[in-house]
C-alpha cells in the first residue's frame, strides 16, 4: 500500500513533538518517553508519580480530537496488519521497550537530542531491527 509523501506535515508534527519534550523537561525535569510514562502509569511508585503521568496521557489521547477539531478529519490510521499480528507485535514491543529502557520518543528523540551514547546505540539498533523485519515480511515471506 502506497502512502503519500508528507514532508511539511511530518516536519510540523515533529516540531510539536520536540516542543512537548522540551516543555516536559523545563517543567518537571522529565524525559518525554512514552514507554516510561506508560510503565509508570500502570505500576506507579507513588500517587504523585501517578498523577502527572495521568495528566500527560490524558493530553496525549486528546491530540487526535484536537486534530479533528482543527482539520475536520481524524488523523489517518491505515493498518495493513492482521489482528493476530497486531497483538503479537504489541506484546513484542512491550517486552523490547522494557528491556531496552525506551522507544522512539525516549531514545529516538529525547536521548538523541542529549547525544546520549546509549540512546544512539538503541535507536540505530531498533531502526535496523524494524527495517530487517519489514524486509522479511514484505519481500521474503510476502514475496
Amino acid at each position: 500500500m502506497e502512502t503519500e509523501f508528507t514532508p511539511y506535515a511530518s516536519l510540523g508534527g515533529g516540531l510539536l513533538i520536540g516542543l512537548a519534550a522540551v516543555m516536559l523537561m523545563a517543567t518537571l525535569g522529565r524525559i518525554f518517553g512514552a514507554t516510561g510514562i506508560l510503565a509508570g502509569f500502570i505500576q506507579p511508585d507513588s500517587s504523585s508519580e501517578f498523577s502527572w503521568r495521568a495528566a500527560l496521557l490524558a493530553g496525549m489521547v486528546s491530540g487526535p480530537v484536537l486534530y479533528l477539531a482543527i482539520t475536520g478529519n481524524w488523523p489517518a490510521i491505515e493498518v495493513p496488519v492482521s489482528t493476530p499480528m497486531l497483538a503479537l507485535g504489541g506484546l513484542i514491543v512491550g517486552a523490547g521497550v522494557t528491556y531496552g529502557a525506551g522507544c522512539t520518543s525516549g531514545h529516538g528523540v529525547c536521548g538523541m537530542a542529549r547525544l546520549s551514547p546509549r540512546s544512539i546505540v538503541a535507536t540505530l539498533t531498533f531502526m535496523a531491527g524494524t527495517a530487517a523485519t519489514v524486509y522479511i515480511i514484505r519481500h521474503v515471506i510476502g514475496g
Partner: protein
C-alpha cells in the same frame, strides 16, 4: 491544579504532533522502513524536526539549575551499553516492524477510538508487565546463583 492543566497541555502538544506527523499511521511507518518497496521517507522529517527542537531546547533548559517544579532533572543515570539495551532495542524494532505502531504513536492514537489501536495497546501493556515480571524473577535468582 494549574500544574496538571499545564502538563495536560504538554501531552496535548505531543498528541497533536503525533497526529499531524503520521507516526500514528502504521501504513506510513511500515513504508518508511520499506526501502525495497513502497518507500515513504516522511518520517525522517518527524525525527529530524523533533530532535532539532529538543537538541536546542534542552540546551536552554539545562542552563537552569532545576526544572520549574522539582529539585532536579531526572535523567537516566546508567551509561552502560550492554546486551540488555541492544537486545531489548532489537526486539522492540522487530515488534515495530510487525505491528507498525510504537508506544509514542499508539498512545495518542487511542483518542481516535479505533479498535486496532486498543488491541495493540492492550498487548503492549501485557508485554511490559510480562517483561517486568521476568526482570523481577531474574533479579531474585541472581544472588542465589552466586551462592551456589
Amino acid at each position: 491544579m494549574t500544574k496538571h492543566v499545564l502538563i495536560y497541555l504538554i501531552g496535548l502538544t505531543f498528541g497533536l504532533g503525533i497526529s499531524i506527523s503520521g507516526m500514528a499511521n502504521p501504513a506510513k511507518v511500515i513504508n518508511f522502513f520499506d526501502f525495497a518497496g513502497t518507500w515513504d521517507p516522511s518520517l525522517a522529517f518527524v525525527m529530524g524536526g523533533a530532535v532539532t527542537v529538543a537538541f536546542i531546547g534542552y540546551r536552554l533548559v539545562f542552563r537552569r539549575a532545576a526544572p520549574i517544579w522539582g529539585k532536579g532533572f531526572s535523567l537516566p543515570g546508567t551509561r552502560q551499553i550492554d546486551a540488555r539495551l541492544i537486545g531489548g532495542s532489537l526486539v522492540f524494532g522487530i515488534g515495530w516492524g510487525i505491528a507498525g505502531f510504537c508506544p509514542g504513536g499508539a498512545l495518542p492514537a487511542l483518542g481516535t477510538g479505533r479498535s486496532e489501536v486498543f488491541i495493540f495497546v492492550v498487548a503492549l501493556v501485557a508485554g511490559i508487565l510480562l517483561a517486568k515480571a521476568l526482570q523481577r524473577v531474574s533479579a531474585r535468582k541472581k544472588p542465589k546463583a552466586a551462592q551456589a
